[in-house]
Symmetry: C2
Subunit: 376 residues, 2 copies
């Protein structure tokens, strides 16, 4: 990290510790809403970079000059592949360097595409290796399955030219896409040809745009969630309550998985999980529809919470998040809802990330009441 | 076309006429060996450009300065899509302009990737719109299903950075591929996402490289083949004999299609056509294995001609080429063999375009005897 920087005061940087990464792993997993991939492997890569002397730093979005050039970066591909195929580790850095070369201008800060799941860690490695800070924000406030579902895209930033780098060394520039959906489709097809996983950096944004349209304080929120779980476990408190209290969540259901349908369709994990209640929910039944993430929560057949609000499934004893790919029959879980950030609830956003966008034309998004929104 | 050009003498340019396009359509179809797509739609686009005042010119490879920058361009995608989805017409030109912008240097001439089938026409439209000549050569001397199967790639030219443009306006730059096969895979996946068809321009080559490694006089050969068929039909001669005489081909078999297995596997048309002989082949049986192109000709179960030698199926009465996607039960056809150009017969080339490369490890390429090589 340079001692001085024209775009920000280095005194404002928060340097992450290995302990922070443990908290981030849990918190990002919770915000993943069942998707976004497991942050564990990314944590190991980040830890390794830390041990090699690289600093991973966070910077509040307000603490960077509006004209600074920010680049968002994230993994693209099937989360299942991500758990089995180890990344090479410098894919994100290659994206950044290729983007600087392609645009002829340096990048000043890295932005997180998706705080939920594995993509919380990817920007840290990329920025750390490049000696840049990561801004404390992201483009989703959770996990979503497709690239056009970021607030950056939703509010008008064109994600192209983008750069995609895989572990083999292939470099693809999506110079121009006629729509964000086309960009997603082409990149998705290409990553399958590369073996199912790659890093993708989208077109640089001015910090002023990030300040206006990113979901603010995502890293802080994820860290707080993870710290709450860790503290509850240490103090033998109820981790589920701790999670709810930390970010104003609501406990929807406690139950056992009684049935699970899950299959791959077009590269996405699609299905439904059925729950039989116990404790306060004894005798009740609930279902959650899955499309990589948990999308729709129904109690006794009645829709209660829907995307973009966050539906989170935690191990009822440990408070650890359970991603959709490791759900199994008999698991004892707590289902929580967290209100989606305001930027995901506008009509403009709901067109892209509301129930309709996921193939539920009959379901109207009924936001979680503001009363449940806590400090966040 | 500029009056003067530092890289070639404009007096050496051959301007194509609408009649030339008719001959090229037939000749390129013959050299397609059943694949490469139908040149008809490309001919219409070329004619339209001609009517709009653009000149389509050919230049012998020896008539351009060795340092001139040449760019090969061709359609990529499923031929079946090409027959149903009309191109926008300026995709190739957009590739050329994007390549000039990306590399920062102008292109001096256009090169044909694949003379067989539809890709014979694509460089003409691109070059015509840009006011550039097309060199009288190509990278295959026939049609092959994949991009790494050009002599340009085989003899060491890296096809990246390449540019792919579709009819929608999407522009993708494959900046670096770790291998030619990876490039093919990524581009193939991407074109499927674009709807099944696009134009792709590969990294510029010096004319000196083209002079050494391109298949020479491909356009001349295709034009001669087409003219031979047209003349035979006008004079009521046997068009099959005319084709053989024109390029030193050998008539292998005359028969009726008695069985046809054809299915799509990984985007390629794969199958086998069975023939029952008539005339001189009365009582004989033959089969041809298909993988987009005609690959292996067997008589009574014995392998007689194999890829990269050209196996051509013509309508026995008209001499018109029959592509693998329009084969049908009961068709009366003549099967011809044309010797592959020398550059496709080296051990280096056979690794990429020999029977092994197409999944026939047990078949050894036994070249058609030189005696059958005619004037070509």
């Amino acid at each position: 990290m340079p001692e001085t920087n024209v775009h920000f005061d280095t005194a404002n940087l928060r340097t992450l510790t290995p302990g922070d990464l443990d908290a981030l792993e849990i918190g990002a997993g919770i915000l993943g809403c069942g998707g976004g991939g497991n942050p564990y492997q990314g944590k190991l890569l980040t830890l390794e970079a830390m041990k090699a002397g690289y600093q991973m730093t966070l910077l509040a979005t307000d603490d960077i000059a509006p004209e600074a050039r920010c680049m968002s970066v994230g993994g693209i591909g099937a989360p299942v592949v991500g758990t089995e195929r180890i990344r090479e580790g410098r894919e994100g850095l290659r994206c950044l360097r290729a983007m600087e070369e392609y645009t002829g201008q340096p990048i000043d800060a890295v932005v997180c595409e998706e705080i939920g799941g594995a993509n919380s860690m990817n920007p840290l490695v990329t920025a750390g290796l490049a000696g840049l800070p990561v801004l404390d924000c992201d483009g989703m406030g959770r996990a979503f399955p497709e690239m056009q579902m970021t607030t950056f895209s939703i509010y008008g930033h064109s994600s192209t030219p983008s750069v995609m780098c895989d572990l083999h060394g292939n470099v693809v520039v999506f110079q121009h896409a006629v729509s964000e959906v086309f960009h997603e489709r082409m990149a998705r097809a290409c990553v399958v040809a590369q073996g199912g996983g790659a890093m993708l950096a989208t077109a640089p944004m001015a910090a002023s745009y990030v300040q206006r349209y990113a979901i603010p304080k995502s890293y802080t929120q994820a860290l707080e969630l993870g710290e709450a779980v860790i503290a509850a476990r240490r103090n033998q408190d109820d981790p589920i309550e701790a999670v709810c209290k930390s970010q104003g969540g609501r406990r929807l259901f406690t139950g056992k998985i009684t049935d699970l349908k899950r299959h791959l369709r077009g590269g996405f994990a699609v299905g439904e999980v059925s729950l039989g209640g116990f404790g306060a929910n004894q005798g009740e039944a609930a279902e959650i529809a899955i499309q990589n993430e948990f999308l729709i929560f129904r109690r006794e057949g009645r829709v209660e919470v829907t995307v973009p609000d966050l539906i989170v499934v935690l191990d009822v004893d440990t408070g650890y998040p359970i991603t959709t790919e490791v759900l199994r029959y008999g698991q004892r879980v707590a289902v929580l809802a967290l209100p989606a950030p305001a930027l995901l609830r506008t009509p403009q956003a709901l067109e892209v990330v509301g129930p309709q966008a996921f193939g539920y034309p009959e379901i109207v998004f009924d936001p979680l009441p503001a009363a449940t929104v806590g400090a966040a």
